[in-house]
Symmetry: C2
Subunit: 453 residues, 2 copies
């Protein structure tokens, strides 16, 4: 990807000022207080290309978090734009229940091929709805079998699965749930997770020392549980925590033994983010459900998929002699524009992605953050896997105001970052150039030194 966009047009500062004034007036920005928006006005975007966003004044800013973890192949990828245009020239959307089309047929086949053991794909619009659908499918399969006991859901402490009521019920981070208890059912959290900083930690291979306590907890609840939902290997919103692949493997064995469905929420981890096509591959497991979104279309438009087994499908929609239906009438299920984008993204990742080069760059990303930690003495607990690197601001240095000023300084110097509490992380496009990582490192270092000096 070229960094240069060509000569930026001169734009009147007053124009930008007026635009921003209008932006504050009517647009409610998610997860941003009015105070924060005033202190750090949003970037007014003019163009975006590869790992860079260009603001109205012509400044280039590195998208250090892939625009909330979704722009996996960067901005304005020419093949994805072409796929969108091709599909738009045929048709943009038809109802998903009474119709089919080439893009969705080919995409479904490819998704199943990439996930041996899976048989069916159901489509929705965003990550949350994919999670809600998986939860509902698990419960509905029990209902169809006349099983009235298995109704509960397990998830992992620090797990995040979205913020619609069902997804929020199995999310185990208090910040997101505050104020909403009356809308949520009670998802049971598994604690004592064997976290690691990298796959070099011995726990990655063997987490026996954590397992005994966890198994005691699991055994107490298994009879009333229909499914366990988790983000495989990396918990995103739970401060980019990485856990043992052996733990994931053990959970899969245990859930199989107990007739509990395993729902792998690969919304953030899937499509290459952790260094494998799907994070489940680290543990060599097949879940009963897999939820995909974000990187699935490389973050072009809302589009998500729930993969599941033929066994689940047959249990819900295909009972011999019965006319069973899974009711979830998502308007945009199988949206052709999203399907075309997802298909092209998967083709790029499968056939044309430089995985060896990628591996080298992911190592460089982690090494760079370690160097920032060493040189600034502001960070602890440096961790990473795939194209994710994270660390925590040292406790004695941290304040929320300093963190905000760090983010502001980073932006002014050319990098868009967004911390998670005390955690600073990089999660750039998978195809970021090495020199851009270098740039990200220098900007982060400077911002940390200024803010936490």
């Amino acid at each position: 990807m070229e960094k240069k966009f060509g000569q930026p047009k001169k734009i009147n500062r007053l124009t930008i000022h007026n635009l921003l004034k209008k932006a504050f007036k009517h647009h409610w920005h998610p997860c941003s207080s009015a105070k924060t928006l005033e202190e750090t006005p949003p970037v007014c975007v003019k163009r975006a290309l590869g790992s860079y966003i260009e603001d109205m004044e012509g400044h280039l800013v590195i998208d250090g978090i892939s625009s909330w973890w979704c722009k996996s192949l960067g901005h304005n990828h020419p093949r994805l734009k072409e796929a969108l245009l091709q599909q738009a020239n045929k048709f943009e959307h038809v109802i998903g229940t009474s119709t089919t089309h080439e893009a969705i047929i080919e995409l479904s086949e490819l998704l199943v091929t990439l996930n041996p053991g899976m048989g069916k794909v159901f489509y929705a619009g965003d990550g949350s709805s994919a999670v809600e659908i998986a939860l509902k499918m698990s419960l509905y399969s029990r209902f169809n079998q006349g099983n009235t006991k298995k109704k509960g859901f397990l998830s992992l402490v620090n797990g995040y699965h979205g913020e619609t009521c069902g997804a929020l019920s199995v999310t185990q981070i208090d910040t997101f749930k505050r104020g909403y208890a009356s809308l949520l059912f009670n998802g049971l959290p598994i604690e004592n997770i064997p976290y690691v900083n990298t796959p070099q930690d011995p726990l990655w291979q063997d987490c026996q020392e954590h397992w005994d306590t966890i198994q005691d907890f699991l055994e107490k609840h298994h009879h009333k549980i229909t499914a366990l939902i988790l983000e495989p290997i990396v918990q995103g919103a739970g401060n980019m925590r990485i856990y043992s692949q052996d733990f994931l493997r053990r959970l899969r064995i245990w859930t199989k033994e107990q007739d509990i469905h395993l729902i792998a929420d690969e919304i953030m981890t899937g499509i290459g983010r952790t260094g494998k096509m799907f994070a489940c591959e680290y543990a060599g497991i097949t879940p009963d459900f897999m939820c995909l979104s974000k990187g699935l279309t490389s973050g072009w438009i809302p589009f998500s998929a729930v993969l599941t087994t033929n066994e689940i499908y047959n249990c819900i929609s295909n009972k011999i002699g019965e006319d069973k239906v899974f009711c979830h009438s998502h308007t945009y299920s199988g949206n052709p524009l999203g399907a075309a984008l997802a298909l092209e993204t998967l083709k790029i990742m499968k056939d044309d992605f430089a995985w060896d080069d990628f591996k080298e760059k992911t190592a460089y990303l982690l090494k760079s953050l370690q160097e920032v930690a060493d040189e600034t003495k502001t960070l602890s607990n440096v961790r990473g896997i795939g194209m994710i690197a994270a660390a925590d601001i040292r406790l004695n240095l941290f304040s929320s105001d300093k963190m905000k000023s760090m983010i502001r300084l980073a932006y002014q110097n050319g990098a868009l970052l967004r911390p998670l509490g005390k955690t600073l992380y990089w999660l750039p496009p998978l195809n970021i150039e090495k020199h851009t990582i270098e740039e990200l490192k220098e900007i982060t270092k400077r911002a940390l030194l200024y803010a936490f000096k």
Copy 2:
């Protein structure tokens, strides 16, 4: 819109057969049993234009339900395609929390202008998530005020608001909720709704005779209610039921008196569908929240908006001296492609839509369905408003198998319909041509006569 697409390419029947075989193999179609899909294979779509979908064999089919009520300006509208391309040439998506852009600024301003009394717009991906956000905002505003009593939600019997857990909790149609009780909170249904067939019914102007009973029920619960959610004027999935504008007006007055938020779910009714830009206009009311999706982008891609007042915003995000945030981190909030499509749709509807011609066509639609009823003697309870016409199959004639065969016959003769239980309805694009309504009428008549003869 031209009906002709040009000469359809000849396509091998075997190719289509193989495509459909693959479609069944891996794609889980929403709301369709395996049995139904085998009996009535899905339309394999090649192109779509205006009110027509073209299948792989070159047959043209009228999209009689606007692809689940969303394709309000029909398929492949040239101005919408141009808006998509223009935005894709700049950038397709950036994180909505730390950035802003011209399309979202202009869209937010226009939405607020079209809805006097509203002040802020929050964006999400689909209708369900818009509903969940409105429910959460209502509850969170109470939480921020330290009000621990107002936690419940009221909705209307036969109301539909989506199928994620929060939206499903306030949906009052059993089919959608069956099997999921353990995931849902208890939304209280208001019964005894003053339904009408058309605005000519006296109840439309005055529903006093229903109101007393309803008010008795409301008074019992008001102290614990934070919001009442409803589809204004027309309940879609609840069998296209139309109700009195006076009822909506009374509910608005009552909710204001009781400090209860009114959430208008205009996902199906909004952007012209009922004959006004927003169905709330019939009652001359302003709700506290308005949810929009479907027709907002004329059904191109998932995109939704929650409009609310400055009062609610200030209560949640803008407490003086406090750093309050509304937490709902939707990845695609404010997606630029969706914003560009919505902005262009609204511009068309506001400045370039032939409202007089439209009014005439909506009358013609209802008159046509009445004629079908008169000529076939298979329908009762013909009703309609705006570009919606519905009727019920006569009870003594109805069977679910006959209904399926009617749908199959209609498709074979060139119209895509999808009934709601015993209800047959037309909900075509707002800009459908008169001759296409005529065609839809003839096809429906023939299919009804064959299936229910």
